[in-house]
Subunit: 292 residues, 2 copies
């Protein structure tokens, strides 16, 4: 193995420390950051995930309330719940846990969260603001992947970047976050004729598809950075989208799975929670300001 | 010259005819589409442009009111004007003409237009919806460029596309509109190391930078489609970003400037005006629906 393994937990720990400091300052000013997590129905699939968020929230000085609603709840009832949380000054951020029952379309819920409380960065106006290079609350996984790249000793301006996977919440946001930083970005996906033509030219490759072993060493340029966003269960183990062994022989830097993008994503969620609280504080102050 | 010259005026005429039919149907239902154009200060630069929009609006069955405000108007007054237009049922679309005086930031105005009246497709939530592949009101120039490409006998899925220029309202939206259609997209800009490395591999090149002669024939793959979005004044003539003579020797299809993307952009603006009117009608109907 020639690649340097990127330590996502160390990057996350650094961010969490900054977030904790900021959360304490806000709490001192009367703005204790507080998240509400919404899950619907049988949550066995998401439970471990939610419990981890809760633990990380505590470590970041963010209060966390996990709510579970029965799977029979209607879309109207659930958007009513969200309207209540939007109007509640004690709630600074709302997380919508997936999976949701089939009758609850996730996009409708995402749009029902006020953009200033959208800590997951999923609201269309949050996404549009990234395109405008006006990053407020960005989608956590995409922001985490980009933060990891930024931690490497590479000059991002002019960097040739290949993003494999063009989902709305990971691939596309990574693409325009990197464009905003001055990289030349190519986005590949299942309709791309030959992904390796693009990936082999790239100084950095992001992969977020959900197919174990999709990226192999011969698809990389020697010395390239590989940021693996995939999370797959294979024979009881969690693996990414890269064939780690062969990629680590060619890449210059590589993220492990687990221990790479995952912990940084949770750290970004907490950072967003604190940032959202600050934005709400400023919004409140300007709304209550008196012109003299 | 080997390239087929793309007739933007013919494509626009076809769209305008469809829009006129749709506008008449809405007018018959009590929803006559109506645009308000806002310009501020000395409008000599924009006047020809506004007059052309007015003429095209009439041809598309869309009423058009051009308003001009003095350059001393404050940002607060102007956002107040927009709030009034947002609330006015006789106004279906708002166009903010550029340039604006230095004390009026264009983005603040764009955000003050209600997303359902954002016929220019500039509001962050309009842009975010494109990323979500949920095209309602898209930014006119980007949509026009993509519509021109779609009119060619090329299979867009898997097509290798190079976008030169990464502005928020043209380059980036073209990139994710094309991604949404299944193309493999590379976005180049002023920090890209060598644009020709990317453009020469591409089956279709979009250029939107504002530099005459930026794209030359040797930067293209033989037979590629070249969509030129640049509008530059050189020695009293309007030219695009491509060196037309050398590009036309190599490309398979090429848009002229003028007569290419320009007329289609105005046609998309009118199409958006009518679509916005329809969305407002549906919004009104659902707001006034009575549950029985």
């Amino acid at each position: 193995m020639t690649a340097t393994q990127i330590d996502g937990r160390a990057i996350a720990a650094r961010m969490m420390f900054e977030t904790l400091t900021e959360a304490k300052a806000l709490a001192d000013a009367g703005w204790q950051p507080r998240l509400v997590s919404i899950s619907v129905g049988d949550v066995a699939a998401a439970e471990l995930y939610v419990r981890n968020q809760q633990k990380q929230a505590e470590a970041a000085g963010v209060e966390f309330e996990a709510r579970n609603y029965p799977s029979e709840i209607s879309l109207e009832q659930l958007t009513g719940v969200l309207a209540g949380l939007n109007a509640d000054p004690r709630v600074n951020g709302i997380i919508i846990q997936r999976p949701l029952p089939a009758h609850i379309p996730v996009k409708t819920l995402q749009k029902a969260v006020h953009p200033l409380k959208d800590v997951e960065g999923m609201h269309p106006s949050s996404i549009g603001n990234i395109v405008y290079n006006d990053l407020a609350l960005g989608p956590c996984t995409a922001v985490a992947a980009v933060e990891i790249l930024k931690s490497l000793p590479l000059k991002v301006e002019g960097l040739d970047v290949c993003v494999i996977g063009h989902s709305e919440i990971v691939g596309k946001p990574i693409a325009f976050l990197m464009m905003g930083l001055g990289a030349t970005v190519t986005v590949c996906h299942h309709m791309t004729r030959q992904v390796s033509v693009h990936s082999r030219r790239a100084d950095a490759v992001f992969v977020a598809v959900g197919k174990p072993g999709l990226v192999t060493g011969e698809m990389l340029k020697p010395g390239a950075a590989l940021i693996d966003i995939g999370i797959n269960r294979v024979e009881g183990k969690t693996v990414g989208d890269a064939d780690f062994a062969s990629c680590a022989e060619v890449a210059g830097w590589i993220t492990p799975v687990p221990g790479g993008v995952g912990p940084v994503t949770v750290a970004i969620l907490m950072k967003n929670a604190v940032l959202a609280t600050r934005m709400q504080m400023e919004h409140y102050r300007s709304a209550f300001a008196i012109a003299v």
